[in-house]
């Protein structure tokens, strides 16, 4: 199998991810309630972590992929903060 085909498939997948992120952003801006927006942001960031890994493959710079896990962890922490906020409690409780 030629290596060029691999990179072509990966670049098509990257473009697909780029287009789906537009849909997530529409929900992020439109979303009637706050949990809707946070949910869209979650999905966007988990997509973005895949996107970073695919870009590292595509640019042939594997070392670039280091931002992936930090993004995942902080977005999860954000979920917890927001659900604590919405349940009308102080974060320290």
């Amino acid at each position: 199998m030629d290596v060029g085909i691999v990179y072509t498939i990966i670049s098509i997948v990257v473009l697909i991810y780029l287009m789906t992120s537009v849909l997530y952003i529409i929900r992020l801006i439109k979303g009637p309630t706050v949990p809707d927006r946070i949910l869209a942001l979650d999905a966007l960031s988990y997509d973005l972590s895949v996107f970073i890994a695919l870009l590292a493959l595509l640019l042939r710079r594997p070392i670039v992929a280091s931002g992936l896990i930090a993004l995942t962890l902080w977005i999860h922490a954000l979920d917890i903060y927001v659900s604590k906020y919405i349940e009308a409690r102080e974060i320290g409780e």
Binding site: K30, I63, S66, A70, L73, W74, H76, A77, G92, E93
Partner: protein, 270 residues
């Protein structure tokens, strides 16, 4: 969020696009060039070059090598700025008191059991990022901030009360932080203080041996480049950032009844 806002935002971003296209028509070359730029080549030659022992710092990650080895003072002052900002938090919230026994509410059982599983993994990944900082992207600050996620998750999911019962208090974290800063200062002075009594040339913040001074930090451990002082700086910076940011988070999320004592303290000062 009405239609007019979105249309305005879209036209604004198109304007920015047009401006940046106009500026970049000159062409800056590809973002990921296949060959090294001359500046990059000189950095690589001077940071990881085992064949020229008087120039190398044995750190594969050039950014960390530059920050800790060539511009070590810069990062020392950054650490001091973080220290000072946390001292400022302490000044603003002076007179606070840690009350235990206020009760635990926390989040649901699912979140609690997942946090118990995931928090050690996060801390381990943070430590790995920190002490691998001289080989891969990362370093003390980055590893510390990754590990702080675990602390904030525990605070939010379990509550502050849980941390108090585990013996984590703000005064202990402050002590850990001061010890870390002292360790960084001692590491930066160590080679100079060894060299001075025996009348050998040595510099402050020196890492590897140079042409005119033979003293050197340990360089290689079992075929792995250890990068001497850069490894130690990353480790201590991890401790400083982890304890400092956990301290700041604990101060910021104090409960209402704990904040009451601040008002009383403020009246005393007035």
């Amino acid at each position: 969020m009405n239609r007019k806002d979105i249309a305005l935002a879209l036209s604004l971003s198109l304007l920015v696009l047009a401006l940046s296209l106009t500026i970049s028509l000159e062409g800056l070359g590809p973002i990921v060039p296949r060959e090294l730029r001359p500046l990059g080549a000189s950095f690589v030659q001077n940071s990881y070059n085992p064949w020229n022992a008087s120039l190398t710092s044995l750190s594969l990650n050039v950014v960390t090598a530059i920050v800790w080895d060539y511009r070590g003072l810069d990062t020392l002052y950054e650490t001091l700025v973080l220290f000072a900002s946390i001292a400022a938090t302490l000044v603003v919230l002076r007179g606070y008191s840690e009350l235990s026994g206020l009760g635990i509410k926390g989040l649901s059982d699912v979140s609690k059991s997942v946090t118990v599983v995931i928090a050690p993994l996060i801390v381990v990944y943070g430590i790995a990022t920190a002490i691998h900082g001289h080989l891969t992207p990362g370093g003390g600050f980055q590893g510390g901030t990754i590990a702080v996620v675990a602390a904030t998750l525990i605070i939010a999911v379990f509550s502050l009360e849980y941390l108090y019962r585990r013996g984590v208090s703000t005064s202990r974290l402050m002590l850990l932080r001061i010890l870390g800063l002292l360790a960084i200062i001692l590491t930066s002075l160590s080679l100079a203080s060894i060299g001075m009594p025996s009348n050998v040339n040595a510099y402050i913040l020196q890492n590897m041996a140079k042409d005119d001074s033979a003293l050197s930090m340990p360089g290689v451990l079992f075929d792995t480049p250890l990068a001497g002082s850069i490894f130690l700086y990353n480790l201590f910076e991890f401790i400083i950032v982890f304890s400092g940011l956990t301290f700041a988070a604990m101060m910021l999320v104090l409960r209402e009844s704990e904040l009451e004592s601040i008002k009383e303290a403020a009246e005393v000062y007035e």
